[in-house]
Symmetry: C2
Subunit: 118 residues, 2 copies
């Protein structure tokens, strides 16, 4: 586990070659975490945790971001007082070409079919 | 939950429109279940549970097949005394075009990189 350049308090991340498919799929097997990943993909930029308005408690939100970080799906860095999140698209695309886009497309189709309460 | 034509003891399956992405991803978030799905995809035919030589107990194997069935990933039917398994490719492709192939490709790449002990 290493981390990117950040300000002081670095958070542990798996290296690219430590990322496991089954762990990524577990991270995405929760509706809230799928929603976070969709929003990050649509934003195409880093978003702070506080930008996500999820219908769960703050500690549950923190837990979800940790699962996403520890699985290798998102990169979390502190910038000042904000914890910023970005999809690890380059790493995931290198390991599993096409998978992230397929997953995002599938999540989008389900969202369109069932609405926000997936 | 309904089921396909089978011999007597039918097993419950979600209808196509009841299949949820997050439940499918949960079903595939286990190395043994990923392995079962890969073997079914490679076989391109129904396989009996006993055809799978997994390094887990028989009851654990049964559990894995049940998770795959209840998530909508596989169709299980009794044929005589054998429980036969097939991927629900048509249903999954209709709901999430391209996803199953991306997942199988990702599993294949990880298998090639790390070997059987994924």
């Amino acid at each position: 586990m290493t981390d990117t350049a950040a300000t002081g308090r670095d958070l542990p991340h798996p290296e690219r070659e430590e990322i496991r498919l089954e762990t990524v799929l577990h991270a995405l097997s929760d509706p809230m975490r799928l929603r976070i990943v969709r929003e990050l993909a649509l934003a195409e930029e880093e978003l702070s945790c506080s930008r996500f308005d999820l219908p769960v408690t703050k500690s549950t939100t923190t837990h979800h971001f940790r699962v996403l970080r520890e699985s290798g799906v998102v990169r979390q860095v502190y910038r000042g007082t904000a914890k910023m999140n970005a999809l690890r698209r380059e790493d995931l695309d290198a390991l599993f070409p096409g998978l992230l886009d397929s997953l995002l497309s599938a999540a989008g189709r389900q969202f369109a079919r069932l609405g926000d309460d997936i």
